[in-house]
């Protein structure tokens, strides 16, 4: 799959207002796929957030829908019932989780456990280094 998630997470914030408008204008019962320029857009709405993926012609639409769902599950598990605010205030975490799950537009790891393990390890690593730095501060 050569989807452009890498770019997309930027796009969802600012570039493609035009795409955002198109997706927002769609009605609930419509299908989750639409052609947009040379790409196909697969999107799904979760509460107030729309998740969009741009894929190429030969890519599998349904599995892309489930990529979105798995990502939402990952966020949910990490934040504990994720809401939009979590993503706004911890946008860097949302990026890190995405990088573990997808890389260069391809699925890297589909196991929820493995992805979260990687993120939690990193969190752990960070707490450790912080304790050390706090200690060194005390010493000096």
């Amino acid at each position: 799959m050569t989807c452009r998630q890498g770019k997309l997470r930027l796009q969802k914030w600012y570039i493609t207002r035009e795409l955002v408008q198109t997706v927002l204008a769609r009605k609930p019962k419509m299908c989750s796929f639409l052609e947009w320029r040379d790409l196909k857009i697969v999107y799904k709405r979760y509460a107030s957030l729309y998740f969009c993926c741009a894929i190429e012609d030969q890519d599998n639409e349904l599995i892309t829908l489930e990529i979105i769902h798995r990502y939402v599950e990952l966020l949910d598990k990490y934040f504990g019932s994720v809401c939009e605010l979590d993503i706004i205030f911890n946008f860097e975490k949302a990026y890190f989780i995405l990088d573990e799950f997808l890389l260069g537009g391809e699925v890297q790891e589909t196991s929820k456990k493995n992805v979260l393990k990687a993120i939690e390890q990193a969190d752990l690593l960070q707490e450790k280094t912080e304790t050390i730095s706090v200690l060194s501060n005390i010493k000096s």
Binding site: Y14, F33, D38, F79, L103, E109
Partner: protein
């Protein structure tokens, strides 16, 4: 502020985000942001060194501001500093900033690459992964140059952690996609294939993506992946829903991996090994069987994952196109989905069925769903689904159902979304022409198109109807009567006035006997529309009027009055004024004989590929309306369609046009793709295919060199010896060309029995039509004679025709043969496109057979301007600012042949140091890529 803040809360960042969210207006937000930017700038510039935490916090703020849509032009250096922090989160934020705000400053890139290099060498898997993620997210050429050689090593190293392998595989994939030339193939490739056997499913998942991309370019290097992929797939498909633990997704075992494996298999033909093939067919059948089982969960995720695999399986079955049983099962499955309550499934079923319709095994099975599809067109609420229904109707159309499908499309057109009207108009026009048995039906259909959607009827469409009416005398009377009636409507579309004006000007006489459509009535009818029309239409009508002067002498005074009026003779528009003046003069001074000659009925148009089809292809992009589809469909019509009405070329033959016997009017798209009727039966024509090869001289020495010189130009001296000089002048347009050959007698003595002959080999003959007339057998001393060759490219070809010249000079018999430089690239039409489109198409043409590459030594000085001129001379467009490397040249164009059009992309990469070039050609057809690459390679 949210309660949740995982890991280290950067309090300052959270406060800032809250502030932004609390801003009541856009202005307040911008003000707050500017304040923050000023603050960060002063911190970064301040004398006090910032600690890592502050740097991280500020960099994070910049990132947030950037994501809000503001430009960020500083902070890169601070982010780069973070990369070398030994604190994980600082490093992580540094990498994130670099990945999101890529900067092309070379000094920065050097520093970034240095940091990445250190992390890759650190043996700390988390650091290595961060570095790999950054390379994969940026994917720039500079990073490729720095790391493409290291990553394969990391990927196959025995001691790399699984997570590192996964990231390395996808990182390499990204670099390969961005700059394939930088990734060296080698011993590691075999080991990558074996990652398909890896115990860790995540590693397999990442590796399959890499292999799928690499094998497209190097199918032979990776062909062992087929059997490995089959056995992996088979293990997954046959596993129970809990076997794969965390890789099971809503009771579906490893759906992502399954889909990827099925995609990989679509890069190859069906496995040759019977055991492997058997196992694979079993897998495919299992997937089809599972679709019929009751779902294990009511969740949509379960059915989506399951159906994702099912659709990919069907794609593979269609790709193989060799198992009738599976194809029909696939079609039945899709048929069920056509009526599914999930919109997504209906959409996908319509889309997938489109490709099934072009397989001869399943075309008939697809046709049985016609009513459902028509119903979808009428009732679907989502325009994207209706669009798919239109596509499918177009794909399933053949002679048996064309009237029904065309009628449905016409009625849909009345309410269709504006965005897809033009495409539907083109489709209707093509189907009506392609499957017309009764041309009155064709004329009615096109006039209906103009009536319903006149604004969307492009020039190509109305030109085409005129061409067809002119070429078919059995429909001319009907056409005249029908347009006459249609023009009676008080408000009719300007396109109808154009068609009506043209047709009545040519064939109005055929209905003039009826007092209701007498010449004068016809004239008044047309002239009543005149003042409402645009200038081009008025110009056309003026021509109609002068044609009337010839057809109906009795209306001449009326028309002269109109031409003479001030509004014509003194019209502000130069074109209209000129026509009025000239036509008026012509009608006054010319005798009836001269008028009759000048204003004679238009001769039949030369047949070529329908310009409408070309337009549709252009609209849909190359590759979507492939010639393969057409030939396949035609084949299936022959197989299944029962007795076919003879394509109506009979009337054309009787037309007194010298080229008529080549044309097969109206039948061009339906004619089987086989050899065209062998031409040249007429005694007037030189029999270009005569088997005179036994007496033909071998090619003249140096003829090869001369031949190559003509690849990029059309005029010049082809051959010269002491007696004879042969010069060429040629012009090409789309799939047609005309070549003037000049034979100069350099001596003062006559050449006798001077006989030039054009010879096409058996391979070439079906693909290239050449027509010419014999020249005078005597060429006086010092004289030059000219021969015209009409050229038609029927299909792509490789060889060049040979020109053999025999004559007597003095007492000796002379026999010379040279290759005639009619090469495939002459039928190029340049295509301008933007960088994005170019690479999009480039990617679409990524099958291994579509690309041909040649690396060769420069034979001429490597001069940029000369190279550009050659590429343009070659016929393609030279696309500037498309290739990221300005030293490279890229070009794009379409090869026009009678049967098809082939989109071609090319890229030439010079290497000045090595004095070498690499030339890559991508087209939808292997033979075309091959031939163009050969031809162009010889030019540098």
């Amino acid at each position: 502020m949210p309660a949740v803040s995982k890991g280290d809360g950067m309090r300052g960042l959270a406060v800032f985000i809250s502030d932004i969210r609390n801003c009541k207006s856009k202005e307040a937000e911008i003000k707050r942001i500017n304040k923050e930017l000023a603050n960060i700038r002063s911190k970064f510039k301040g004398d006090k060194a910032l600690d890592g935490y502050s740097k991280k916090k500020y960099v994070c703020k910049l990132l947030f501001i950037f994501l809000l849509g503001h430009d960020i032009d500083f902070g890169h250096m601070e982010a780069v500093n973070l990369l070398s922090s030994n604190k994980y989160t600082e490093k992580q934020i540094g990498y994130l900033f670099i990945s999101v705000l890529v900067n092309s400053n070379s000094e920065l890139i050097r520093l970034i690459n240095n940091a990445i290099k250190n992390d890759l060498a650190s043996r700390n898997p988390t650091f290595m992964c961060l570095a790999l993620h950054c390379i994969a997210n940026v994917g720039s050429r500079e990073m490729g140059e720095a790391f493409a050689a290291d990553i394969p090593r990391i990927l196959v190293a025995g001691d790399s952690m699984d997570s590192v392998k996964q990231s390395a595989a996808l990182c390499l994939l990204r670099l390969y996609k961005a700059s394939p030339d930088l990734v060296p193939m080698g011993e590691w490739t075999a080991r990558v294939v074996h990652l398909l056997n890896d115990q860790h499913m995540g590693v397999v998942t990442a590796a399959v993506s890499l292999i799928t991309c690499l094998c497209k370019k190097n199918p032979d290097d990776f062909k062992t992946c087929v059997s490995l992929a089959v056995s992996r797939l088979s293990r997954i498909v046959s596993s129970a829903s809990t076997d794969l633990q965390d890789y099971t997704y809503y009771f579906v075992p490893a759906p992502w991996l399954s889909v990827k494996l099925l995609r990989l298999l679509q890069c190859y033909p069906p496995p040759e090994d019977a055991a492997v093939k058997g196992r694979l067919v079993e897998c495919l059948e299992t997937v089809l069987n599972k679709a019929q089982e009751p779902p294990k969960s009511k969740k949509v995720q379960h059915s989506n994952a399951k159906n994702a695999i099912l659709f990919e399986t069907i794609s593979l079955i269609i790709h193989y196109d060799s198992e009738p049983n599976l194809l029909v099962r696939a079609c039945n499955q899709l048929g069920q989905f056509l009526q599914h309550r999930e919109t997504n499934l209906r959409y996908l079923a319509l889309e997938s069925m489109c490709t099934l319709a072009s397989s001869e095994f399943s075309h008939e099975a697809v046709k049985t769903h016609i009513e459902t599809v028509i119903n979808a067109l009428k009732t679907e609420r989502d325009v994207s689904v209706r669009q798919r229904a239109v596509d499918l109707l177009y794909a399933m159309c053949d002679r048996s159902n064309a009237p029904q499908i065309v009628a449905e499309m016409l009625s849909y057109l009345e309410t269709a979304d504006y965005s897809i009207r033009e495409e539907i108009v083109l489709k209707v026009a093509i189907l009506a022409e392609k499957y017309a048995v009764d041309y009155t039906w064709y004329v009615d259909t096109i006039l209906n198109l103009i009536r319903i959607a006149g604004d969307y009827v492009s020039e190509e469409v109305w030109y085409r109807v005129i061409q067809i009416v002119i070429n078919r005398d059995d429909v001319q009377g009907y056409a005249a009567k029908t347009v006459f009636e249609a023009l009676q409507a008080p408000a009719c579309h300007e396109n109808l006035v154009k068609v009506g004006g043209y047709i009545l000007g040519e064939f109005g006489n055929l209905i003039a006997g009826d007092p209701r459509s007498s010449p004068l009535i016809q004239f008044h009818l047309l002239h009543s529309k005149f003042h409402l029309c645009s200038v081009p239409t008025r110009a056309l009508l003026l021509s109609t009027y002068i044609k009337f002067v010839n057809l109906f002498p009795e209306v001449k005074p009326t028309i002269q009055d109109v031409l003479r009026s001030d509004s014509q003779l003194r019209n502000a528009d130069v074109e209209l004024q000129q026509r009025a003046v000239e036509y008026l003069r012509l009608s006054t001074v010319a005798s009836t004989d001269i008028l009759a000659t000048v204003l004679e009925e238009m001769p039949p148009f030369p047949e070529r590929e329908s310009s409408i089809l070309a337009k549709l292809k252009k609209k849909k992009g190359p590759g979507t309306v492939t010639d393969l589809e057409d030939t396949k469909r035609d084949r299936s019509v022959d197989v299944n369609g029962g007795p076919e009405p003879a394509p109506a070329s009979t009337s054309a033959v009787s037309t007194p046009s010298p080229s008529a016997d080549l044309l097969g009017l109206g039948a061009a798209p339906t004619a089987p793709a086989g050899p065209p009727p062998s031409s040249g039966g007429s005694g007037l024509l030189v029999d270009v295919f005569s088997d005179s090869a036994s007496v033909v001289a071998p090619l003249a020495p140096g003829s090869e060199d001369n031949f190559a010189r003509f690849v990029c130009k059309n005029n010049g001296v082809l051959f010269e010896n002491q007696l004879l000089q042969i010069g060429l002048k040629s012009e090409f347009r789309q799939n047609l060309g005309r070549m003037f050959i000049f034979y100069g007698n350099k001596t003062s003595t006559q050449f006798l029995n001077f006989t030039p002959t054009l010879i096409c080999s058996d391979d070439l003959q079906p693909n290239l039509n050449l027509q010419t007339k014999p020249v005078d057998p005597t060429v006086e001393g010092g004289a030059q004679v000219q021969q015209v060759v009409n050229i038609e490219c029927v299909s792509d070809f490789t060889e060049a025709p040979v020109l053999n010249i025999q004559f007597r000079y003095g007492g000796t018999f002379q026999n010379v043969s040279v290759q005639l430089p009619i090469t495939l690239n002459k039928f190029f039409q340049p295509t301008e496109m933007a960088s994005q489109d170019f690479f999009q198409r480039w990617k679409q043409l990524s099958n291994p057979q579509q690309e041909v590459q040649n690396i060769f030594k420069a034979k001429h000085p490597m001069d940029t301007e000369v190279t550009k001129a050659k590429i343009i001379g070659f016929g393609s467009a030279l696309l500037e600012e498309v290739d990221p490397n300005p030293a490279n040249f890229v070009g794009a164009g379409i090869i026009h042949t009678k049967t098809t059009q082939i989109g071609c992309l090319l890229r030439l990469e010079p290497n000045l140091q090595a004095q070498m070039y690499r030339l890559t050609l991508r087209t939808s057809k292997e033979a075309v890529s091959q031939r163009l690459c050969e031809l162009l390679s010889a030019q540098f």
